[in-house]
Symmetry: C2
Subunit: 385 residues, 2 copies
């Protein structure tokens, strides 16, 4: 009898994949589907990054890099922190990984002792609890709602922290809500976790994609915080699989051992390509695209509210709107299926992000041209009319 | 007090990294170092693979792929098994990963329950015990030596299997020895593990790099075996980070959930590049290079024996010679240091591959032009003279 390890019983698939499979079937039948479920930018990789990749590939010498990454890329990221945030992060504390996914793997493999509890938000990025569980930690959900902007408060931490708690993992801006922690909130959370001698991991993958000002980095709240980052979203390099982890100094050696053993190294072409990510012309292009994302958000949020959804917290970043659909349905998964079948619009049901309020929420991604978003809204409006 | 999870105490760094760091220092001082420690082919990525990558990068649409990989690449690998081995492996059982490293992650994350024991060889690929340990399994070493060609026997398995044993993970050809299991031995081992209701994982990363005939695949011994493979070695794509896992059908869904959550997907440029890996002109080039590796092995083994090393088992594959240096030293790590300092030759000490016989063995990699290998041998000869 083939039996997987017990952890597999706790690891959920993405429910949106079922919808996506059905969407592909419908498309194969000639139906036009508007994709508002996709969690990645719709823009191509910026040309300077592509050019750097092509240049690197000239001679074909595509070998392993050091486990923590190309020294010059680690330096470039250190420079990025200096320039953009005015913060000194030595390159020696930066590990290059296969996306934020690889950074989360390293952080949890390093920190999660079996049975130790980790505080996460519900709703939140679905993989977080599975990273914790994969390394035999115990994910503990903090239900968050509009009252706290779908972010945890110090009070939440106090209420959920116990003697088994080892740490907390939060994202700012968050998926699926796009809401942020401000600098004071970050400092407050860091202070609390520090007092309890826990570890704090902050996922900053949506930094750069914020529309009412820049997001503060958790690194300003202390050099004892693990920060997860990625070239996937702001830098629009999802398929390249490249990101990084900022490591508190005392953990660098352990994270390096893990990286050597679990990964050998991150993608070499991606690392060379990413060297061009911080060039002024790349940044200029990315800032243009940021403006485009902002315009989409500013269009989509009121448009959805006009047809019966409610956006209960301010979505300041990422490219998601987490919409309350309770005026329209009490079964968001069934509702998402119906939207796909009858309106040809794909969205993500709340269940993919946790349990708290899941059946009354859906996520819209604005990773599609504004005209398509408008067409999607119109189709939903007609369906609901 | 920052404390890593207990597993970190059991996860060792690569000792050769210390030597490598020193080698770089010496090189920076102008010393010429002959690298015979490098575990990757010295050849560039084959031109058709590079061309496919460049072509794919034209339009910059580098997005995530499905979690188990590009359907056409999974099909191509299925075709490769049909053509090269005459074996039917449906594409649905193939997961594309970030190297064999990613495949080992998926296999152990899926199979290793906390406290379950996993049989490995000592010496063996050093990361294996760390993959087991990362997911809270318990690595158990089977000491192997020249008598069994540094491979495990059915008797070894019988002796080491107990009620906590969940499975076994072996490589053929193996690192650091280059020795193989033949088809009968594979079938015998598979049969034994099956009887005990355990799981068998066979790492076939060095397939294609064999010099006395092709290696048999474990897939011929049953469709209940996990097979780890990679584009790193035979296909000479180390830095691209691409490999695959062949999954027994009952585990496909669980492995897919893990891949979705832990990785999202493997590198998209690498996957598109690898579509060219099975083209006749790529294979023709790889077969030429295989001939070159064979010539190097046929040169190096007797050359090392002539200066006092002993190659105690037939190295049929990979690009390594695991040499007994007991006639020259009883401290292989110190010996490797001395070779580096005094002869400018970098090799890997036995300690990186386990404990059994570690102090009396070193690994030579023939991932360097034959003239350089000869120069290395000559320098060692003079040092020992
Ligand atoms: C909050 C969050 N963290 C991490 C990731 C992982 O992204 P990647 O591995 O591509 O960097 C995602 C992807 O959607 C995400 O939304
Ligand atoms: C036996 C063995 N397995 C797996 C790997 C991992 O290689 P990769 O992740 O590049 O495919 C190696 C690398 O040296 C190896 O020797």
């Amino acid at each position: 009898m083939p039996v997987s390890a017990p952890r597999l019983a706790d690891i959920a698939p993405f429910h949106v994949m079922e919808l996506l499979g059905r969407a592909r079937e419908l498309e194969a039948q000639g139906r036009d589907i508007i994709h508002m479920e996709v969690g990645e930018p719709d823009f191509p990789t910026p040309e300077p990054i592509l050019a750097a990749a092509r240049e690197f590939l000239q001679d074909g010498r595509v070998f392993y890099t050091p486990a923590l990454g190309l020294p010059e890329l680690r330096e470039a990221i250190s420079g990025f922190y200096r320039q953009r945030y005015g913060i000194a992060v030595p390159a020696s504390r930066i590990a290059i990984t296969a996306g934020a996914s690889g950074a989360l793997t390293l952080a949890l493999a390093c920190l999660a002792a079996p049975g130790s509890e980790w505080l996460l938000t519900d709703p939140g990025y679905p993989c977080n609890r599975h990273f914790v569980r994969a390394f035999e930690g115990v994910p503990v959900s903090i239900p968050v709602g509009a009252a706290s902007n779908f972010q945890p408060t110090r009070l939440d931490l106090e209420q959920h922290w116990n003697e088994r708690t080892a740490g907390a993992l939060f994202a700012s801006p968050a998926n699926p809500t796009g809401t942020m922690l401000d600098a004071a909130e970050l400092a407050d959370i860091a202070d609390f976790v520090r007092q309890r001698q826990g570890q704090l991991i902050i996922d900053e993958i949506y930094h750069g994609l914020t529309y009412n000002g820049d997001a503060p980095t958790a690194l300003a709240a202390g050099d004892d915080i693990f920060v997860v980052q990625s070239f996937s979203k702001y830098f629009q390099m999802t398929g390249w699989r490249l990101g990084w982890l900022v490591i508190p100094e005392p953990f660098v050696r352990d994270v390096e051992k893990l990286a050597q053993n679990l990964f050998i190294s991150a993608s070499t072409p991606a690392q060379h390509a990413a060297l061009a990510a911080f060039q002024p012309e790349t940044i200029a292009l990315l800032e243009q695209r940021r403006t485009e994302f902002k315009a989409r958000r500013d269009y989509l949020a009121p448009a959805l509210e006009a047809i019966g959804f409610r956006i209960t917290a301010q979505p300041e970043g990422a490219f998601y709107l987490y919409a309350d659909c309770s005026a329209l349905t009490d079964d968001s998964f069934g509702f998402a299926r119906r939207l796909l079948e009858e309106a040809g619009v794909a969205i993500t049901p709340g269940i993919d992000f946790g349990n708290h309020g899941a059946s009354s929420h859906v996520r819209f991604a604005y990773t599609n041209a504004q005209a398509r978003l408008a067409e999607g809204v119109e189709r939903i409006r007609q369906l609901l009319a």
